[in-house]
Amino acid sequence: MDKTTGVYICTGCGIGDALELDPLKELVSDEYGISICKDHPFLCGKEGVELIKGDVEGEGVNTIVIAACSGRVNYDVFDFGPDKIVERVNLREQVAWCQPPNEEDTQMLAEDYLRMGCAKANDTEPPVPFQAEEEYSKDILVVGGGIAGMTAALDTAKAGYRAVLVEKEAGLGGFLAKMKKRITMPYKELTDTGADALIQAVEEHPNIQVYTSSTVEKISGGPGLFSVEIKTENGSASERVGAVIQATGWVPYDASKLEHLGYGKFKNVLTNVEMEQMAAAGKIKRPSDGKDAKSVLFVQCAGSRDPEHLPYCSSVCCLVSLKQATYLKEQDPEAVSYILYKDMRTLGQAEDFYRKAQNDGNIFIRGSVMQVGESGDKLFVEAEDELLGEKVRLEELDLVVLATGLVPASKPEVTPMIKAPADAEDADEDGMIEVLPDSGFFANSALNLEYRQGPELPTLKYGFPDSHFICFPYETRRTGIYSAGCIRRPMETAKALDDAAGAAMKAIQCAEATAKGIAVHPRAGDMSFPEFNMQRCTQCKRCTEECPFGAINEDEKANPLPNPTRCRRCGVCMGACPERIISFKNYSVGMIGNMLKAIHVPEEDEEKPRIVAFVCENDAYPALDMAGIKRMNWSPYVRFIPVRCLGSINLVWVADSLSRGIDGLLFMGCRHGDDYQCHFIKGSELANTRLSKVSETLDRLALESERVKFVEVGITDYYKIPEIISEFMETIDEVGPNPYKGW
């Protein structure tokens, strides 16, 4: 694109009071040869915007550098259409509001930011959205026909999209259809399951194609372009869909492992699932002799919250036992239910049902089972009653019900093994090693994706598909594939309905966005996508292995085969590539390199060190803006460069900076690890790993490793910014100036 650039400096909000305007304008024309450079006291006002629009129309300006407030605000005001490049230079939050006015260092900071903005605008091309050659599909595939799956399909269809529902059982309904009643809003009484009506609605809906007794054999392609092969009872079927919802649900924890609670030993000890099915079939009876049960003890957390079994809380078992105790009361008002619990957990409004069950006269005992035994034809339980502070014995029990927890259907019973890498320490004698949960090769078969990174969704340690439960529920680590219901986390039916609706909306959004060639969350609307300069590829596989979303497949020669519709535009591949062959139209290794070059590095004797901070634009950058808004102060020697994700940082930038005399480099990004906050899941972790290997570069340059530092900055950590920076400045002060200055 032939660029005509205009630079517009706002002098409002205190910017004009803190800076001298003329030197800024001079550098724009002298250093970047840009002749259009104007200032305005209220650039985001009507008159200011008209000033820019006038130049767009009159002067043919198509590249607009706005030196004003943070790019996080007024982006709608400064939108001049998709064919115009807009680059924002943050002179407000990160200069005028955090630095003393009219000081030499403040002026130098502003000048550097303006140079970096001009350099960046110079290297930016307007992105052109990706358009596949094939036709896009906006149909939604739902795998799993339980309450979540059926609801997702129905909600999809109601929203005007075609849904394809695949269920492995002969009939729809899942666990919902096996229940007698359910407890749901408003949690006062038992409610009908509604399974029949829901199944009928799904089956009769003209926009839902149901495949029962069927499984997904293969899914290839990417969002908008998925090809699905379905194995049906008598043959096969193919579908093309735009997005996928996995709602394959849960299985009960294997009670055969709970022999210490009498399961398998005594006929009248059963699981809550068996109890539910018995109740649904008719009466609650003693399996041993078919007599009606009159006295039942529920063991809560049977195998749950137990490091030997299920370490987590399934969140529904308390409610299930309350429900089943209510069945018993309805069957026989004189019957007694004891509920032996660790903590009663009835979340939210479900507390009302707990109250009801208490009011019904059920007896709640906080404690743990010591022994389940048989005496005559009755059971007894000996328990530690925590609140009584005694060991107690409950006799004459007809049934003991084990409230077992929920295991995601994705969790394999036996962890799959793969061939261990040569340097693995914990390989077995055959050279095999356990697959890690966050590998695509871990989970049970459900989707059979033709992805380089494995056929299933990567999971968290307990086998639930990995997604950020607060920031982006339903998202998974495969773009366009969403999870809903108990596969995502254990949940009651009311929450499964919410989940289904949420996932359906996400799936539809994805199908629509993909058809337009734009990204989904978190870079929703982004039109750029990575382009590969294949001539220089060395088939090192780093991009295909490190992409957090499995977007890049490989051919047999290990050449990367990008799938742009699977891409989340985080740039992790760009950061991974040692040959720097991956770049976006508006984000590239060279562009950041030129921004680094734009920074003026003073001579050593000026005693003005220079620090470059690469800042994650999702969390750390807003925190910086917040610190500016709060008028916090920090060193004027730091230059912040926002990046899409720390995972997109290419190590060549470290070498570029240090060899130019930059004294230190700070990487500010999201928390990583089990409780990660990275919007691209693995980005900050990858950055951290890469940085730990940077010492090689530093050694080669004979520089101290303290010059490079990684800090975790959450969006709410703004108050830590001054301290983080001053600590780093002290470190740099100690190690002294970079000896490469002036080379």
């Binding site: 007694v336 004891y338 009663m344 707990y354 109250r355 208490q358 009011n359 006269g361 007896i363 709640f364 005992i365 906080r366 000996e382 009653d385 609140l387 009584l388 005694e390 060991k391 107690v392 014995r393 409950l394 006799e395």
Partner: protein
């Protein structure tokens, strides 16, 4: 090892004023933390409810907790399950005494004399009630108690804070008694209307 026996809980639900309210207890302990005298009690209120649930009849009907309640209502105000803990404690004490237990001697004696006077006069006579209370345990105890309280009585008298005339029966005392008798028959655990 104690055996769980739900029959006492049923007895409490059926016969004790406000007894069924304890079903709602979730054992959070706010009552115990709020009670001004819980440290003096054999069991804090929460624990009393646990004992009822476990069927510990003797322990419950004999524990001083149910008679140490000062009726300050802090527990009732704070209970997240809206259990009227004060009323439950009073109900339990009343029931225990009716069943022949004496969970705490002095408040039981005082309370008996108090109610006897209400039933007799319709009002309380501030001079007469302490006297009856002190002498209810015999002459010696009565003289000792009166002497111990002589200072208090004298000062009250000197500062005009003692009604000199004895309290007379209210006019409607006969009908009041009829009402109360009927209420006792109709009340929980009563003989019926």
């Amino acid at each position: 090892m104690a055996n769980y026996d739900p029959s006492f809980a049923r007895e409490v639900f059926q016969n004790v004023d406000f007894g069924e309210e304890i079903k709602m207890c979730m054992q959070c302990g706010v009552c115990a933390a709020s009670c001004p005298l819980s440290t003096e009690m054999d069991y804090p209120p929460r624990q009393v409810f646990t004992l009822i649930r476990a069927g510990k009849r003797e322990e419950v009907l004999n524990c001083n907790s149910i008679m140490l309640c000062t009726s300050c209502y802090t527990c009732k105000v704070r209970c997240p399950r809206k259990i009227p803990v004060v009323d439950v404690m009073h109900g339990l004490a009343h029931y225990a005494l009716k069943q022949g237990f004496v969970p705490r001697r002095q408040p039981a004696v005082f309370g008996r004399e108090f109610w006897a006077q209400v039933y007799k006069l319709g009002r309380i006579d501030e001079k007469d009630l302490p006297r009856r209370y002190f002498f209810s345990e015999g002459l010696v105890a009565g003289i000792k108690g009166t002497l111990d309280f002589m200072d208090v009585g004298l000062r009250m008298l000197l500062h005009k804070r003692m009604k000199l005339l004895p309290e007379r029966k209210i006019k409607g005392i006969q009908s009041l008694r009829k009402m109360l008798d009927k209420a006792e028959r109709m009340g929980k655990g009563g003989a019926g209307a």
